[in-house]
Amino acid sequence: MISNTTSISPLDTWKLTDEKVKPQNGWQAATGLYWTMAGQYDVSLESYYKKMYNYLDYKSGAVLSMNENLVDDLITTQGKAYGVELMIKKPIGKLNGWISYTYSRTMLKEMEDRGTNTINRGEWYNAPHDKPHDLKMVGNYKFTHRYSISVNLDYSTGRPVTIPISKYMYAGGYRLFYSDRNAYRIPDYFRLDIAMNIEPSHYLKQLTHMTVTFGVYNVTGRKNAYSIYYTTNGGTKIEGHMLSVFATQIPYINLNLKF
């Protein structure tokens, strides 16, 4: 998989191994602990460590779209990924749901020494999808058999990006000085959704069962970044922009029919 996260619209493409793209390989070790507490809670604690070789990333200045010779713009990196995940589930009861927290890192390092063109001087850098903190929570509370409320919470660290940090005059025009590869991050992601579920009928013999859900997506109206990009305004001033999707509260009504 080859990801492009620098443009206004991030996208991933897939590439088969060929004579220029070596197969990726790696190994992984994982451990896990699982136990049930007080007969109600399922707790799991897992950790892993992974090494990758021939993982692909871009050369500096690579043309990412509509590029017939994309392989010439790729470099191979070695990667390491590690993390721990804690998850607590409460599957039964009036209040049920689960919460999980993950700390994980994915780092890359260019395998080949290409002199001054080597990404970040051959040091370890954040992989494009490295998001160290990730917290997810889903909770349901049943008031009665008919009415219940659901809460969904999602938080994660913003993904790494390469951004211009300075500008300079060179060869008759303003040029951008970029940070090290993936040295900065887009803002953290946070979202809270709340929903009210109503099951009007409980007749066992009925052909269809209907559920109505009223809810609000992104209750706090947080402007989560989908992507960031820069434009030059008036030739001299360079401005950062953040593209945000669902940057406000979105109410919705769901009608589910089961049969």
Binding site: T6, S7, I8, S9, K59, S60, G61, A62, V63, L64, S65, M66, D73, G115, T116, N117, I119, N120, T162, P164, I165, S166, K167, Y168, M169, Y170, A171, G172, G173, Y174, R175, L176, F177, Y178, S179, D180, R181, Y184, R185, A225, I228, Y229, Y230, T231, T232, T236, K237, G240, H241, M242, L243, S244, V245, A247, I250, Y252, N254, L255, N256, L257
Partner: protein, 384 residues
């Protein structure tokens, strides 16, 4: 089970995405990085512009650094000192490199006022072949005048870089033989050949023009386009001249220039390339991790000049709007002069009665459009 939200979600994406300003947190070292621009030109004069990088939101104009000792050093220990010169509205260091020995290696040395010493890496002098020809083509479809270079070289001359200086003559819309004098509130005829009709202006290239012939069996470029000028640009309104400078550069320098142009010219779009940190070949002797920007190469330079005459191409299209001049009573002269008008003509109507025609000063005075009355010495006509 049907989830309507799954169907609606992609539709809502279309209506609810928004763009907000973005200021990343924790940015370090956004300005004050040393930038060194210029090449060591064997057989000519080398110019080096030294400056600091600026913050992204800084809109003040660039100030070059003048308090430094700049010199070109040869591998045999020869040192040529530079002096400050004013060129292209900047203070630059000018180094006389006319008598370089092309068999030696050279580097740039910059000693800043704070005692920090910077060097470029040692450079072999690249020999540039002559430009075979320059040509232009009025592209009616895309409404631009395209400029091409043709050249050929040997196996050591695979990477090319061009820069240019352009000069042009342009005219004001009306050729006035009269002018208004505010102090005496009167209209006079210009003395002698004085006029505000003929003007000249010049500019240096601002884009990065490089190419390579490494994949061609024959090292030859035929009508390689280097830049273009818009059809309505007043540069090509009368006589336009460009002198193109050709340099052969090393493969490393070529990679630098290509990456630089990708980083700057294509930022912020759907098809933007992967941006990157770009350092070049200059380093700080005391601290090799300190970023320094710029690439100093060494080469000879060849050049060629062509003229483009609007009277033959008939390509330029006027976009400026100058209404027919209007007759003003002498009571209104001061008022209209203050509005930004000036005299186009003074016509005797008979019996000693004169009509004075006025138009906006931009239609009468060519110096209002950035040019000057300074005619280049090589200009192919006589008027001044």
């Amino acid at each position: 089970m049907k989830h309507i939200s799954y169907i609606l979600a992609p539709l809502m994406l279309l209506f609810t995405s928004c763009i907000y300003p973005f200021e990343p947190e924790g940015i370090k070292e956004t300005s004050g990085i040393i930038v060194i621009e210029g090449d060591i030109i064997a057989g000519g004069t080398s110019f080096f512009l030294i400056s600091y990088s600026q913050e992204l939101t800084d809109i003040t104009t660039l100030k070059s650094i003048v308090h430094a000792k700049v010199s070109v050093e040869s591998s045999s220990g020869e040192v040529i000192q530079g002096r400050i010169t004013y060129r292209n509205s900047q203070n630059v260091f000018n180094i006389d490199t006319r008598n370089l020995d092309i068999d030696q290696k050279y580097r740039l040395s910059v000693l800043m006022n704070d005692g920090e010493q910077y060097y470029s890496t040692w450079q072999t002098v690249e020999i540039s072949p002559e430009i075979d020809s320059l040509s232009f083509y009025p592209d009616e479809t895309n409404e631009v005048m395209r400029f091409y270079v043709s050249t050929h070289g040997d196996d050591n001359q695979r990477y090319y870089k061009w820069t240019y200086k352009e000069d042009w003559e342009y005219h004001s819309h009306y050729n006035s033989f009269f002018f208004y004098d505010y102090a005496t509130d009167a209209v006079y005829e210009y003395p002698g050949t004085m006029n505000r009709y003929y003007c000249w202006n010049n500019d240096y290239s601002t884009s990065i023009m490089v190419t390579n012939t490494k994949d061609l069996t024959d090292n030859r470029l035929i009508n390689h386009e280097i830049y273009s000028v818009g059809r309505t640009n007043n540069k090509i309104s009368y006589i336009y001249s460009v002198e193109v400078y050709q340099q052969v550069i090393s493969e490393e320098a070529y990679t630098y220039w290509v990456t630089l142009s990708k980083n700057s010219d294509d930022a912020g779009g759907l098809f933007s390339p992967q941006p990157s940190e770009l350092r070049g070949n200059i380093y700080c002797a005391g601290d090799s991790t300190k970023p320094v920007l710029g690439y100093v190469g060494a080469s000879t330079v060849t050049s060629k000049r062509i003229f483009v005459d609007q009277r033959k191409t008939l390509f330029w299209r006027r976009t400026e709007d100058c209404d027919a001049p209007m007759i003003l009573s002498s009571l209104d002269w001061r008022k209209y002069y203050n509005y930004g008008y000036d005299v186009v003509d003074k016509v005797e109507e008979g019996m000693g009665v004169f009509s004075v025609y006025w138009a906006p000063v931009r239609c009468v005075d060519c110096t209002k459009k950035g040019g000057t009355k300074l005619k280049p010495s090589f200009w192919p006509n006589d008027h001044i």
